[in-house]
């Protein structure tokens, strides 16, 4: 009566949950501390904004290429993904076409990135834009599309049906209902999807390797080849015997991710407050 008496089952389950959480956070800290400890010391201004031609191992071209690739991929994939999710959740009537689309997205989600790489390599060569940021952007867009669709779908579905009913019941058009009631409620979820995908684009190497290429130069246009940080990182680990630069590059990658996540979280928090 006075003291909490926990059933043994509850204790075990509780323990499992705590251990899992500690594991997750522990691994994250381990990776962060390990990489940052080895890499932070090797980062200098020159390292960041120099070109390899002027300063050995500098990574400015990789940073620029990465940013270009992220921008172009997000620009292509996010609107398509959100529109597709809206179609699936709000418009589509259950039937063959929806099943087909759903099957397609699920299949796309499962396709390994290396297959995207191979596909991008042979497909975009047809249009004569092989090894360019553009072909990488297209390839990655297809790759992240199912993720965006799925997460947006989840977010849309989480919006209570009562809201839709109420709005439609007022004689408000479907489109407006979606734009003014459904989407705002789903926005944090959608934003998370986009964040996760920026991370995925920044971190993707296999698909980028075969489509964007690996030229360590600042790309002059979206039709040029370039080398993203992740590809650079892979090349450092496998081709060049330079662990210091690898640690430093990994550190830069992680810092970029931290910054992206931080910004996105700020936006998310702002939206939450509204």
């Amino acid at each position: 009566m006075n003291k909490k008496k926990w059933p043994i089952k509850d204790i075990i389950l509780n323990l499992c949950i705590w251990m899992a959480a500690i594991f997750t956070i522990g691994v994250l800290l381990w990776i962060l501390v390990y990489i940052l400890m080895h890499g932070l010391g090797k980062i200098s201004f020159d390292f960041l904004i120099g070109t390899p031609r002027e300063i050995k191992n500098a990574i400015w071209p990789m940073i620029v290429t990465t940013i270009y690739l992220v921008i172009i991929t997000i620009i292509i994939s996010t609107p398509i993904g959100i529109c597709a999710a809206i179609y699936l959740v709000e418009y589509a009537k259950p039937g063959k076409i929806v099943n087909l689309i759903r099957f397609a997205t699920e299949s796309l989600a499962g396709i390994p990135s290396i297959l995207y790489g191979l596909f991008g390599m042979i497909f975009f060569a047809i249009f004569d834009i092989g090894f360019s940021i553009l072909s990488g952007g297209f390839t990655l867009s297809i790759m992240v599309l199912p993720n965006i669709i799925r997460t947006t779908e989840e977010a849309l579905r989480a919006v209570p049906n009562g809201y839709r009913e109420a709005s439609l019941g007022l004689g408000v058009s479907k489109l407006r209902t979606i734009l003014y009631v459904v989407l705002p409620s789903a926005l944090p979820g959608i934003l998370t999807a986009v964040i996760l995908n920026i991370g995925r684009i920044v971190g993707e190497s296999a698909a980028v390797y075969y489509t964007v290429g690996m030229v360590p130069e600042v790309p002059g246009s979206f039709l040029d080849s370039g080398r993203t940080l992740a590809v650079h990182m892979y090349l450092l680990a496998s081709e060049m015997v330079d662990f210091d630069t690898a640690y430093a590059t990994a550190t830069v990658l992680i810092i970029i991710i931290i910054v992206i996540n931080f910004i996105a979280n700020m936006i998310g928090n702002l939206l939450d407050k509204k």
């Binding site: 390899p52 092989g130 090894f131 690996m214 002059g220 080849s225 090349l235 496998s238 015997v241």
Partner: protein, 272 residues
């Protein structure tokens, strides 16, 4: 005319005039595609080349020898790069080969490993899996951890050829070896594992690993040149059909004295 004015105002006029006089006003981009082993050299020479021809951009894609050969054949690459000799079927495509350098292959172990020398035969047996313990070659009683490159690697074909690891039934390298993707990966593997043995391109050698002498001969550029250290292979640059002015200029540059000096500086052996 506007351009000239800008040039003048930039004060670059004199420079460009000199270049015109020298006939070096080449302009454009060329793409080199091919072997990852050749890529670093091509890149370094490219950088130096671009300093002399500021209006030229050289893109080097290290996607593999075979991809390079194919890209040359398809006309996607102005110049292809390969770290192995062309196979019969590839030779039939009408691709022109230029040997631009030679590379040595070093057998490496962990620096803590007591062993400094192995015979060619011992190395062969280790990679075949006939010798599996370091004590069989005079070391500690530990299992040998064999690290190799993947099938198709230029480094590996050269290594197999010289160590007697080839047969009609294909490569004899033990299947349960660790297969590392690139020279760097071999170095990091060997650097981390006391019982490991691997082989790398000479230019990748650093002090995290120890290079063995083979039959008592050290893997140095001199020994390779003299033929004492026989584990080496050619680096190729490939062209097909009509070669563009820039590509030709670049090839000439690579083979020039200046280019070959850069080759040497990067631990690769120049052609003599």
């Amino acid at each position: 005319s506007t351009k000239e004015v800008t040039k003048k105002s930039n004060g670059e006029e004199s420079e460009s005039t000199t270049k015109e006089i020298m006939g070096k006003d080449l302009e454009g981009t060329i793409t080199l595609i091919g072997s990852t082993s050749v890529t670093p050299i091509a890149q370094v020479i490219g950088d130096s080349f671009m300093k002399e021809y500021p209006n030229v951009k050289i893109e080097v894609q290290g996607v593999g020898s075979s991809a390079g050969i194919k890209a040359t054949n398809d006309g996607l690459a102005d110049i292809g790069m390969s770290s192995r000799d062309l196979k019969e079927e590839e030779k039939e495509l009408g691709i022109k080969e230029n040997i631009i350098a030679y590379d040595g292959i070093a057998v490496v172990v962990h620096p803590n490993n007591k062993i400094n020398n192995l015979t060619q035969e011992q190395i062969g047996k280790i990679f075949k899996g006939e010798i599996t313990n370091w004590n069989e070659v005079g070391g500690k009683d530990e299992k040998i951890d064999v690290i190799s490159r993947e099938e198709g690697s230029g480094t590996r074909s050269a290594f197999e050829e010289l160590m007697g690891l080839e047969s009609e039934k294909g490569s004899l390298v033990r299947q349960d070896a660790t297969f590392a993707d690139g020279n760097g990966a071999i170095v990091s593997n060997v650097a981390q594992k006391e019982n490991a043995i691997g082989y790398i391109s000479l230019s990748y050698l650093n002090d995290t690993v120890k290079a063995l002498t083979i039959d008592g001969v050290e893997p140095t550029i001199e020994n390779i040149k003299s033929g004492d250290y026989a584990v080496s292979r050619p680096f190729l640059m490939l062209t097909k059909g009509k070669v563009s002015d820039i590509a030709q200029a670049y090839l000439d540059y690579v083979l020039s004295e200046k280019g070959q000096k850069i080759v040497e500086e990067n631990g690769v052996i120049s052609i003599d």
